[in-house]
């Protein structure tokens, strides 16, 4: 498997506040990697750096063979789809128009959206189960529905790499499972490299190939889900005594 995204020795500070120090991780094509950690551990910052959205960080970010700094924004956008936590719309664009914005990097300033673009948008809406509200506005949708819209927008970018910032935080049980199934299938069947930040320990353990656990901007543990989601490790990182029991390949958490 080829490494699609590689971060080496990444560090970042907002003014005096150190958010990340010396974080290294890589995601290969066909791999689904989960990014875990308490609130404020630096997950969002790490994802932004991975997408080249923050400048002035330490360390290196490479997409395949090339440093991300050498790429134009359109080139990055054709390779990385980024799903932020929540986005607010100022003007009433329909869901379909928003997902079509995922095609931005593929279209020149004077191009019209082609039938191919429309087909890609339709497929993306289908994949995230958002087709039924394609003509509605963001303001009319629930938090979970909005998350599916922005995932569809990222899929419409036709990326090789997908970065997701808590993609299931507002979703119900059914859609949480479906989004992880979709992410796993994007990795396994379509060869995408997927990195998802999440608090959804159970689903992440079931579907991810590897986990990276952050604490206070450092990698506290990394490896297979069974090794990372361990009673001792979690109790330490989340500063809360928990016990982890594994049943049918999924962790059950018991607070002590």
């Amino acid at each position: 498997m080829s490494v699609a995204l590689e971060l080496t020795g990444v560090g970042y500070a907002f003014g005096d506040r150190r958010v990340l120090s010396d974080v290294s991780l890589s995601v290969s094509a066909g791999e689904l990697v989960g990014l875990l950690g308490p609130n404020g551990a630096g997950k969002t910052t790490l994802l932004k750096i991975a997408d080249g959205l923050l400048s002035g960080h330490a360390g290196r970010v490479r997409l395949g063979e090339r440093p991300i700094r050498e790429l134009k924004r359109t080139e990055v956008a054709r390779r990385i789809g980024w799903v932020p936590q929540d986005i607010e719309a100022i003007f009433p664009y329909s869901v379909q128009e928003i997902v079509m914005m995922g095609r931005f990097a593929h279209l020149g300033p004077w191009d019209r959206e082609s039938e191919d673009d429309q087909a890609i948008v339709d497929r993306s809406l289908e994949a995230t189960d958002a087709t039924m509200f394609k003509d509605r506005y963001l303001g009319e949708l629930s938090g979970g529905e909005r998350q599916r819209v922005f995932l569809a927008r990222a899929l419409a970018q036709e990326p090789e790499i997908l970065l997701l910032d808590e993609p299931t935080s507002f979703l119900d049980l059914k859609h949480r499972l479906e989004i992880y199934r979709l992410l796993a299938s994007l990795a396994k069947d379509h060869g995408l490299a997927v990195l998802a930040a999440s608090h959804d320990l159970q689903l992440i353990a079931r579907f991810c190939d590897r986990l990276v656990l952050l604490k206070e901007g450092k990698v506290a543990a990394t490896g297979a889900p069974k090794d990372v989601l361990d009673s001792k490790v979690l109790s330490e990182v989340f500063e809360t005594p928990v016990e982890v029991e594994w049943r049918e390949g999924q962790p059950l958490l018991v607070w002590r």
Partner: protein
């Protein structure tokens, strides 16, 4: 219809421009009307009537069209870039900066700055651009724009500018002071503008074309800068291009018309609710819709001013219509504004 039938939307707006143009040409401060206009066009009328239609009204109607078109397009640009549905050249202090710049040019007695370039639009542009820079400097915190700060900055800038203008103009001889005040209040008097009207028209058209090329980027950037960069927009370049263009347009318009408020708020809002928010359609319809709106507003001024010895400024009409509309929007959108 929203966004579905762009041709129909453009036809509707173009018809509105044609109708407004004819109405605005036919009605004015004198009784001369349709019949006289018809005869003027066929050349069988007296010299005085001819003068009214061709030398007095026509330049003024065209002036109104250019000013309305420019203010609406500038409003569209500021609203997208500042991610604020209430941003508008007048309210955020960009027009005020332009007026201050133009006042300095007038106060210094500068008509041209060599090479035949008029000083007034150039100074107005510099003032407008300076205001935009100030707004961005104050309202951008960690890459995010704060809606309330944008509007508050505009309020304070406007207060500072009007004080500065009053201070500067008080050193001028009375007749010059009167002329500047009359212009600043927002009037459409073509004899003041002279050859700057074609210049302004050209700048508005070219500026709109440049913005049109960025139409898709403008759509994307309304969802925030990070989100836009994630989709491939070079937001730094976009910000630079849009701010310069919107300032050029505002400066050009302010130099010939003074302070006319709310047009850039009213027209884009109505068009968005009719045809959707996509800039590929919004920009051309704002150009047309703004021209139509302004020609009608100015017609109203001329007709209502008939019994008066002197006309009231057209900014009175735009503020009396646009001000309440702003308050209505403020109430409807305040939750979103405070959390933005």
């Amino acid at each position: 219809m929203k966004g579905q039938r762009p041709i129909l939307a453009l036809v509707i707006c173009a018809s509105a421009v044609a109708i407004s143009f004819l109405v605005s040409w036919a009605y004015g401060s004198t009784g001369a009307s349709w019949g006289d206009l018809w005869q003027t066009l066929w050349g069988d009328t007296d010299l005085a009537t001819r003068e009214i239609f061709l030398r007095v009204r026509l330049p003024r109607v065209l002036l109104a069209a250019v000013v309305g078109a420019g203010l609406s397009v500038a409003g569209v640009a500021f609203q997208a870039l500042l991610r604020n549905p209430l941003a508008e050249p007048f309210l955020v202090g960009v027009s005020g900066g332009g007026v201050l710049g133009a006042t300095i040019a007038l106060g210094l007695g500068l008509e041209t700055i060599g090479l035949g370039l008029s000083a007034r639009p150039l100074f107005a542009f510099a003032g407008a651009l300076g205001s935009v820079a100030l707004i961005l400097w104050f309202a951008r915190v960690q890459g995010r724009l704060q809606n309330t700060t944008i509007l508050l900055t505009g309020v304070v800038l406007n207060a500072i500018y009007s004080a500065a203008i009053l201070f500067l103009t008080s050193f001028l001889p009375p007749e010059r002071f009167q002329a500047i005040m009359a212009w600043m209040r927002g009037t459409l008097v073509p004899r003041d503008s002279g050859e700057t009207l074609p210049l302004a028209a050209g700048l508005v058209l070219v500026g709109t074309a440049v913005l049109y090329r960025q139409a898709r980027s403008l759509d994307v950037v309304t969802f925030g800068e990070d989100s836009a960069r994630g989709l491939g927009v070079d937001t730094r370049r976009l910000r630079l291009v849009v701010l310069i263009v919107a300032s050029v347009i505002t400066g050009a318009v302010v130099a010939i018309s003074g302070l006319i408020g709310f047009v850039g708020l009213l027209v884009p809002h109505v068009l968005r609710s009719l045809f959707g928010p996509r800039h590929r359609l919004l920009l051309p319809t704002a150009l047309l819709g703004g021209a139509a709106f302004m020609m009608l507003a100015d017609t109203l001024v001329r007709v209502l001013s008939r019994p008066l010895t002197s006309e009231f400024p057209v900014s009175v009409v735009t503020a009396l219509v646009g001000g309440p509309f702003f308050l209505f929007l403020l109430r409807r959108e305040r939750r979103r504004l405070y959390w933005g």
